[in-house]
Symmetry: C2
Subunit: 178 residues, 2 copies
């Protein structure tokens, strides 16, 4: 740890600083419960969804329709609590939660890249959604390959397992109902 370059100061304790966000809209999809929801967009190709943006934020959608893909940041609203070790869908071994895309995270934030089909008023039609119906949307960003794509040399425990993402559907292990 190079303390000469940066002074590492834990100036913010976990309890001391709460960050508050408000949904900007709601994501509507055919997936009414965690069970059966694709775990990643590859398993959701062609699945259509609608995003409803609250009136007060609609002006912020200007210029969005020029992008073929957008990044959605959303809140995993069906998750409560979290674990630091989880068994991901792709296998049966416990992994550190930050090395997985599991929803039960300390801050249950989800991100998905989806295809933007159309923008009509406050409704976005999207495709390739792997998101639960009713999910609160926190942010939309334009998807820009030169910003968002990397040549990753190593993908750790996921190596050789990415094909499973296309086929595996969620069970209820991360739901409060399970």
């Amino acid at each position: 740890m190079n303390t000469k370059r940066y002074r590492i100061v834990n100036y913010m304790t976990v309890d001391e600083k709460i960050i508050q966000y408000r949904p900007i809209g709601i994501i509507h999809t055919p997936f009414k419960e965690p069970k059966g929801t694709p775990i990643q967009p590859q398993g959701a190709v062609g699945i259509k969804g609608q995003i409803e943006i609250f009136d007060e934020f609609v002006e912020g959608l200007t210029d969005l329709k020029g992008f073929s893909h957008i990044i959605l940041l959303y809140h995993f609203h069906q998750c409560q609590g979290f674990a630091l070790k989880v068994k991901p869908w792709a296998e049966n071994v416990e992994r550190g939660v930050f090395a997985t895309r599991a929803p039960k995270r300390p801050n249950p934030l989800g991100i998905s890249v989806v295809r933007l089909v159309s923008v009509s008023g406050r409704i976005l039609e999207v495709e390739d959604v792997d998101i639960l119906d009713g999910t609160p949307l926190l942010d939309i960003k334009p998807y820009i390959p030169t910003v968002d794509c990397r040549q990753a040399e190593r993908i750790g425990w996921v190596s050789g397992k990415t094909e499973k993402f296309s086929n595996v559907r969620a069970d209820n292990r991360f739901s409060n109902k399970s």
Copy 2:
């Protein structure tokens, strides 16, 4: 709007639902103020940073070191307030904020893909950081190209401007100090 498939119900008003997150750590970088900070990782190649994870979340880092790249989700802590139309770095025309990566967003959430150099206890050494020093970290996800990369046919107003991302450094237009 296909109301037959989904009932669009604005069941959650913006004021009614507040989502609370707590930082899991702090991002340390050489960039002490917005001015001069690269606006995207392409402009930050080789720039080293350190991420300090709070003790209670360290167990969640297990298995992370297998990944060459990670996604950081963080809070733009120097932003207060937002605009629905902003002038992005790459040009001098106002755009809808959701069609830009500008930090002054309704929910000031940032995402960056960075190279993971090492994991040592609660400290991650990373490279290619375009993030301000002291930024509160909300989540880490493994970067998996088959999940996170798309062939985008259209990148809207950004088309032809991505080279600017490598050269442009931030001014203070999104800072509270400006």
